[in-house]
Each structure stands twice: as C-alpha cells, then as structure tokens.
Symmetry: C2
DNA sequence: TAGGTAACCTAACGATAGTTAGGCAAATTT
DNA sequence: AAATTTGCCTAACTATCGTTAGGTTACCTA
C-alpha cells in the first residue's frame, strides 16, 4: 500500500507520545489529539492502550534479534561480528528513536505474561553478544573475565545513545558506531607505543 | 536522634515503591499501606507526592556532586581520580539502590522549574568527569577524541549497575568498580604483548 | 443502486488518582 | 493540671483515566 494504514499511524504517534511522556503519563486523549480525532475513535483501530506498548516493544525486540542472529550466522571473525552487531544496533535504534526509547524505558509496564516473554527475548539478544565474546576469546582477540558483566556494560553504552542522539546533530549513526566500537575495544587508556 | 523521623521513613518507603513501580505507577495509597497508615495521613508529614520525588532525586544528586568535587579537589593524578570517582559513584548508588533507581529513571517526572535545576546538577556532575579526562589527556594517560561522548559512555556503564546489582550477590561494590575501571580504561581488546 | 463497512462522533460509565476538611486521642510541653 | 502539638483517622471532593455504547456519515463493493 502507498500510505501507512491508520493503525500504523496510531502506533507511530503512540511511540512518539510515549517517548516524550512515558507510557504511564501518556493519555489516550493526548494521543487522539495528535491524530486529530477523539479518544474513543482510537478503539476502532486498537484493542487497548496496552496493545500499543506491546506492539512497540516487541517489534523493536524482533528487529534487534533478527539483526544479531544474522551477524552470528555470517562467517565473520569476532572483531567483525562485534563491529557489525554494534553498527546494526545503533542503526536500528537511531532509525526509530521513538520506539527504541519506549523499548528501553517503558517495557517494565508490560503486563504479564508478555513482560516475561519480553525479558526472554532480551536475554536472547544479550546471549547473542555473549557468543561473540566467547568467539573472540577463542580467537584470542578479546578478553573478558566476566562475560555477562562485559555484555551488560557494552549494551548499556550502546543503549545510552537514545538519551542524546539527534538526527540533525553532527554525528551520523555509523560514526557513533565507530566511536563506540573503539571505546568498547580499547577504552580510554593510551597504550604504550613501543 | 536515635531513630529516623517519620518523614524520613516516608521518603525511604517512597524510594522503595517508586523503584519497584516507577513514580507514575505508584499511588499514595500503596505507599501508605507500606507504612501501615491511611493515605491521607501522609499529608501530615509531606506536602505532596511531588515532594517525595524531588527529595529523592536531589539528595542523590547532591551526594554524587559532593563526591566528584572532593575527588577533583584532592591532588591525585588522573588515573587515581577516575578510579576514585568510579568507586565513589558505585558506592553511592549501590548504597541506596531504591533512591538511585528513582534518581536515574524517574527524574523526568520532576515538575519545572525543579526539573531544569536537576538537569543543571547532572550536567555539573558530568563536567566533573570531563575534567578528569582533560587532566588525563594533559598527563598523556587518557585519550578521548570526543570527551563529551566518552563521559556519557562511562556514566552509562556505571549507571547500568542499578539494573542488576544485588547486595546479596557475588560482587561487592568495590569489585564492580574495579571491573568497570578496567573496562573503561582498557576495553575488551587483547593488547599485543611484545 | 442497495448493502455493507470503515472511520469517526457524542455521551457517559466506573474506577482510581491526589488531596483536603475536620475530628479524635495520645503524647508532649508549659 | 492545662494547653498545645503530633499523628493518625474517616469521609469525601474533584479531576482524570481507559474504555464502551450507540449512532452518523462517507465511501467502497456487489
């Protein structure tokens, strides 16, 4: 179809509103106002407010999972894998800042059992990164005493981008990815040159 | 005084509740139930729900700022400064997980003009870290092409600890600080040995 | 052209939120 | 002992929330 359906428009507006105000602080009446309709009219298209949150969170999770699986399937070495995984991650979250902010910040408001499902997906994603580190250790290019710790730290760094990234700012997503990759692999320290 | 005042008990319970549910999703009736009183009784001690959030956020901000100022005042070299700043940060946030979670997650719900005040304090704290990096560059021990970027990444890593730290877990705050310092300065990469 | 459906509307329901008013009893102060 | 304060109570107000019911209009399709 040429244009996005009304339902898709609602999801998009919801992501934008939830990002700005947070899920709990956003009202259906505000969302409706963004779309130029009455709150009750939303229910011709969606089942509930929870459906909006679920859809936004799980779409994002699915997209990220697909990306990490693809990276781990392709036969790069660990360094390439990590660089690509970071690059994909940044591309995905900067590509839809509204959804990714909701995905990172408001998933806690999901109702059970969807919340548990979500956490499982997130753990799966984390494990995708863990595999890369294991890979890197075997290839003797990465060291990480505590891999779980390392993965969480890496993900915290890449996810923090949602807090400050500006599409009109000076850094492109790929530049951010490069910076992050360098930081994650080398850190701050000046290495002895000789 | 021997025991904490009723008002302090309320702040503490509020931090615990807000951490679990988030500020917006927490109700005064729930908070009252935790303390074994009626919701209306809370208002003998506090002015409003907003006061709870404000107090929790600003106390944390003040404590962190005091710590970074102290570090920058003491005449350590940049490496010592960074290590101590991280150690202090981790000690403070692991020392009060309830408050620090609220501080990191719910500050967005602060009302203006307190919200702007809060952001100013946070920027001041960030600048404390920036100064350490500048220091380190002058001493030729740290490199950071984009210092703002580096500081945000460092803080995202240290703040993420609130998401998984468990006082009864296997890592002590000081061990976490050491891990983080190593990661932040060296990253993952295996350095060429010779 | 008749029938159906998609997309909206107004009105309102029931639940729940933060907060206030006013009072009572125990503890503290004078 | 009298007076005041502290800490709680019950009851209720007002606002706002997500959502439903039922109706109207415009468009598409058979």
């Amino acid at each position: 179809m040429e244009y996005s359906s009304r339902k898709e428009q609602i999801f998009k507006a919801a992501a934008k509103l939830f990002r700005k105000k947070g899920y709990e602080a956003s009202t259906m009446r505000e969302l409706a106002k963004m779309l130029g309709i009455e709150a009750a009219s939303l229910y011709s298209h969606i089942k509930s407010k929870d459906e909006l949150l679920e859809t936004i969170c799980f779409r994002m999770a699915d997209e990220l999972l697909r990306a990490i699986d693809e990276v781990n399937d392709l036969y790069f070495n660990a360094e390439e894998k990590l660089a690509t995984a970071i690059k994909n991650h940044i591309k995905i979250i900067t590509g839809d800042m509204d959804s990714s902010t909701v995905f990172l910040r408001d998933w806690r408001r999901l109702q059970e059992p969807r919340k548990s499902d979500f956490i499982k997906l997130r753990n799966k994603y984390e494990f995708g990164f863990t595999q890369i580190l294991i890979n890197g250790e075997n290839e003797n290019v990465f060291k990480a005493h505590d891999k779980k710790f390392a993965v969480l730290t890496i993900l915290s760094a890449v996810n923090w981008v949602t807090e400050w990234y500006n599409p009109n700012g000076s850094m492109t997503p790929d530049e951010i990815s490069e910076h992050l990759y360098k930081f994650i692999t080398s850190g701050l320290e000046v290495k002895p040159v000789m």
